[in-house]
Amino acid sequence: MKRYALLALALIFLAIYLFPLYWMYLTALKPSSETFTYPPTFWPHHPEWNFAKVFVDKKMATYLSNSLLIAIGTTVIVALFGTGCAYALSRVRSVWMDIVLFLILMMQVLPSSLMATPIFVIFNQIGLIATPRTAVVLVQAAKVLPLYIVLTRTSFMQIPKELEEAARVDGASRFGAFMRIAVPLARNGILVTSVLIFLQSFGEYVYSRSLISEEALQTATVGLMNFMGPNTTDWNGIMTYAVIYVTPILFVFVLLQRKIVSGLTAGALK
């Protein structure tokens, strides 16, 4: 019985929390003229289904694949450079490592909107603007790398050193112990953080907007902004766009989340 009371409570929390999400779905289905009526309507009485039309008209397939490319590229780079660093920072305690950690935190202070202009200036000089999606992947990875390092570091912290030491006694190299003991044990943290990084990068806006000038290479968020513009009335269309953008990720994530969290609660560290 208590379990169902908890479930009810959880559903209430979720309902409050997800209200903005609900409003997005609702607006996607309402006719535009209903968007601003007061008192507001909470159910689409005459739903409009424009999904296919918006998807095709707004070239969402192109935009979404660009976003996907950038998100995957960023996540791969971040995992490659960040995992080892996070591991090292969790294993060694010295002034030098303190300085490294400090510098890493410093590197992600400014909002992208303030970083974009200097980056444009330098990338224009060295010619990276010619391959704009790569340019976005490189800077976006730099932007989220500190986040990844700090978070995965905490996962490595929770792994007892003794396990690695035992492996070393059995003849494994540092690298071997890192790959076969530390990384698998920290996989939950690595996975969760990578997913967060992926989501952040999928929604990247500022760098894409300022570094990518060719429309066919633009990302979904920039496509949305171009659609919105300053004087929009087509809220129905915009929210339809947003729904197409959000729903698959949400779906995949809810499924994936179960895997991650069930792995977590099973406890990798018994």
Binding site: F36, N124, S213, P230
Partner: protein
């Protein structure tokens, strides 16, 4: 064989015949805030121009209005500026004063199409810097008072007698306000950026001030009136954070009985507004006082570093020559007197064309952005009662004097 021909044509061109030189293919990079799907002005013009000049190709890039200044200055700084671009009129002096734009006066001197003396003084002043001309207006806009005739009748007001003075505006707004029906008397924009300044400047100008003289008694009176309108909730408090387009939406939805805005509202209004709309010139301080109105829209310019000044100028000239079409097709008010056959929304057109006579430029000043910020800051301070109108405008005046005298 074909190569041979092209070579020959090139040789001939070099030999001095400028007519044949047009065989050379040229690509113009163009930036605009229009959207391709609307169909935007720049896209339509480019297509038409290309029919007349098949050798000129276009590469048009859409830039969001909000990002425009950011992107264009960065492009100029890094040498990646386009050949031709749209520039919002108050921003034009900022670029021309820094030498970023091509002086087109020499071309205009030989032109059969462009006669600068015909251009309305407002738009002309925005393309002129130091006696030279740096662009051609593509069209203009200005603001006027829209009102809901049905609501006038319901409130016992004469729907053919819109308010003409500030006092009448206040009285009328008061009569039309009805909180029980969610109706405000007036909708306008006093937000913290350019739009707030754009809407307020004409009030200062018709009270004898201007952008460099904002703290005269007339300007103070105007700001106090705005204050009163907000304090008494004759307009929504959200006026402080809403742009003109969002404010006007409340007029269309009959949540406001009058609204101050421009011709860009007409397409949406004719679709959304289910009532009889009237339109009038902006009210003045008292009957017989000087009229003023805001000047919006912008200019087509050529960047100084272009490699194809001749083609770029021809394109500019073509666009300029299409002025008689801009009202019906793009919703701009013509920037020089033209005859518009069969104007859409004839009543509104008549008011906006008359309004154009009084429309004064914002500035012109290369530091317009800073001046504008000073004015919108004063508006916001007064409307939130952080300072009284006189003090707020005095502060703005000091700031502006510091900028102008520099």
């Amino acid at each position: 064989m074909r190569n041979m021909k092209r070579l020959l044509a090139g040789a001939l061109a070099l030999a001095g015949s400028t007519v044949l030189a047009s065989a050379e293919e040229v690509t113009l990079n163009v930036w605009t805030i229009d959207r391709e799907e609307d169909p935007g002005y720049m896209y339509v013009m480019a297509k038409e121009f290309q029919k007349l000049h098949p050798e000129v190709k276009f590469n048009i890039k859409h830039v969001e209005f909000a990002d425009w200044a950011n992107d264009i200055t960065r492009a100029v700084a890094t040498g990646t500026a386009p050949d031709v671009a749209y520039v919002d009129n108050p921003n034009t002096p900022f670029l021309s004063s820094k030498g970023a734009l091509l002086d087109i006066s020499p071309y205009i001197k030989d032109s059969k199409v462009v006669d600068p003396s015909k251009i309305f003084p407002g738009p002309l002043s925005t393309v002129t810097w130091d006696g030279k001309i740096y662009g051609l207006p593509r069209g203009s806009n200005t603001i006027a008072l829209y009102y809901n005739k049905d609501m006038f009748k319901a409130a016992g007001l004469d729907p053919d007698k819109p308010p003409q003075t500030w006092d009448e505006l206040y009285e009328t707004a008061k009569k039309l306000t009805d909180p029980s029906k969610n109706v405000y008397g007036l909708a306008f924009s006093a937000n913290a950026n350019e739009e707030g300044t754009f809407q307020f400047l004409p009030w200062i100008q018709s009270a004898g001030g201007n952008f460099d003289k904002v703290n005269g008694p007339g300007a103070v009176k105007a700001l106090e009136l705005w204050q009163k309108i907000i304090d008494e909730k004759l307009a929504s408090p959200d006026t402080l954070i809403r742009g003109q387009y969002d404010s006007f939406a409340t007029f269309n939805a009959q949540n406001a009985a009058m609204a101050i805005s421009g011709p860009w509202e007409l397409p949406r209004m004719s679709k959304d507004a289910k009532f009889d709309v009237g339109i009038a010139l902006l009210p003045v301080p008292e009957l017989g006082a000087k009229r003023a109105s805001a000047l919006g829209e912008g200019n087509n310019v050529i960047f100084a570093k272009t490699k194809h000044p001749k083609e770029a100028y021809e394109y500019l000239e073509y666009m300029y020559s299409q002025m008689p079409r801009v009202w019906n097709e793009f919703g701009f008010v013509p920037s020089y007197p033209v005859e518009v056959k069969d104007p859409k929304w004839p009543a509104e057109y008549a008011v906006f064309v008359e309004s154009m006579k009084y429309a004064a430029a914002r500035g012109p000043s290369p530091d317009w952005a800073k001046i504008s910020k000073a004015i919108s800051t004063a508006i916001q301070q007064a409307l939130t009662h952080q300072a009284d109108a006189q003090t707020a405008l005095n502060t703005a005046q000091t700031t502006i004097e510091g900028i102008v005298s520099k």
